[in-house]
């Protein structure tokens, strides 16, 4: 049966990404498999099958995610050694730096709003909106997680040293900014983060604050596990076949 909106290119890309997410495929491997699936589908279509039927048969012939990951892992050992170290460093850099930046920006915003508008309506609206924006940003990042890990994969493949160094750069910026922050506000940014709960005690501010925290937790979970297959959300799976982003997260731990 043909579903009305079957998109062959998107289905093929999705299928290959699912395998690629297991961390054993290089970008070139993925391209090769993608073109194989397209070739096979074309050939089956010539025999009179619909695109969707042809796609299903072609993927079955290609082999399942587990077999392919196993076989590719044998020939791409660099992925499980050098690259793992790169991912661990990148993960440490990113997961350390991103929260610091977010906390610094929020702390800056809270104090700015408090100094200029005190607990007025403008403060409440701006802070509520920025919390919602943060939650939205996290959801956006989670939706883009495949492209993000794809980006890191291609960078690590091209030049692992460069990408590790690049992700380290923000550390220096934060290191330089911190004393400015402390001298200006007499607080470390981290202690500022509960400022809105103390100073702007509005229900909306409080609700969206917790919403943002919840989306951060959800976001981190979604980065590590694949939610496309809920049965795979187990610790065993995480350690057995860690994805690129899992390695990054482990680097931070």
């Amino acid at each position: 049966m043909e579903s009305p909106h079957f998109d062959l290119k998107a289905s093929v890309d999705d299928y290959i990404l699912l395998i690629q997410n297991q961390g054993a495929l290089t970008g070139s491997d993925a391209k090769e498999l993608t073109n194989h699936l397209l070739d096979a589908t074309d050939e089956l279509c010539k025999g009179g099958l619909s695109e969707e039927e042809a796609f299903i048969i072609a993927t079955k012939r290609l082999g399942n995610e587990e077999t392919l990951t196993q076989e590719y892992a044998k020939v791409n050992p660099s992925l499980s050694t050098n690259k793992v170290w790169s991912y661990l460093f990148i993960g440490f850099n990113l997961f350390y730096i991103l929260p610091s930046i977010v906390v610094m920006m929020l702390a800056g915003l809270y104090t700015f709003m408090h100094v200029n508008f005190e607990r007025g309506l403008i403060s409440i609206v701006v802070i509520t909106a920025s919390h919602l924006l943060l939650s939205g940003l996290i959801i956006f990042l989670v939706r883009k997680k495949v492209s993000i890990s794809g980006f890191f994969e291609s960078q690590v493949q091209k030049n692992p040293f460069r990408i590790v160094l690049l992700t380290f750069l923000p550390h220096i910026v934060i290191f330089l900014l911190r004393p400015v922050f402390v001298s200006k506000f007499h607080f470390m940014p981290a202690t500022f983060i509960f400022y809105p709960l103390r100073e702007f005690n509005g229900t909306l501010v409080e609700f969206t604050f917790y919403l943002a925290i919840l989306s951060i937790i959800g976001g981190v979970l979604a980065l590590i596990f694949s939610f496309r297959k809920p049965e795979l959300v187990t610790l065993r799976y995480l350690f057995e076949k860690p994805s690129i982003l899992s390695w990054c997260a482990l680097g931070y731990l």
Binding site: S28, E32, E43, L62, G63, Y72, K74
Partner: protein
């Protein structure tokens, strides 16, 4: 459809691919097509597992690869036999022949053990 033993398939896929590439450069999907053709559609192998085999052979310098764009605009990675690969193919071909002959002999003349036992019991 023949479901070959996994180990047997793994060890025979390399010489089979080398033999296919002896006929000229080719890309993954075409190699699979030829394999299916020659085996009379009998060989049941997960097609994707061919690519790791090709990568392994490329690392051993038996074959070399290059990306080319087909008329349809689709990019394909073509594989070509190297001179080292040709030597390897000859070597593997003679080894497979040897095993093949051995199996043939043992299958057609299941001698030694049963004959030995009957000799012992006749005493």
């Amino acid at each position: 459809m023949k479901d070959l033993n996994k180990d047997l398939m793994a060890s025979s896929l390399a010489p089979i691919v080398l033999m296919i590439l002896r006929g000229g450069e080719s890309y993954g999907y075409e190699i699979i097509q030829k394999l299916r053709d020659k085996s009379g559609e009998q060989l049941n192998v997960a097609e994707g597992t061919l690519y790791p085999v090709l990568k392994k052979m490329e690392a051993k310098k038996w074959i070399e690869s290059s990306w080319k764009t087909a008329d349809t605009g689709r990019e394909r990675k073509y594989y070509k036999l190297t001179s080292e690969g040709k030597k390897e193919l000859e070597e593997q071909y003679s080894q497979w022949n040897f095993i093949n002959e051995l199996i043939e002999k043992l299958w057609n003349h299941p001698t030694s053990i049963s004959r030995l036992q009957s000799t012992i019991t006749s005493f």
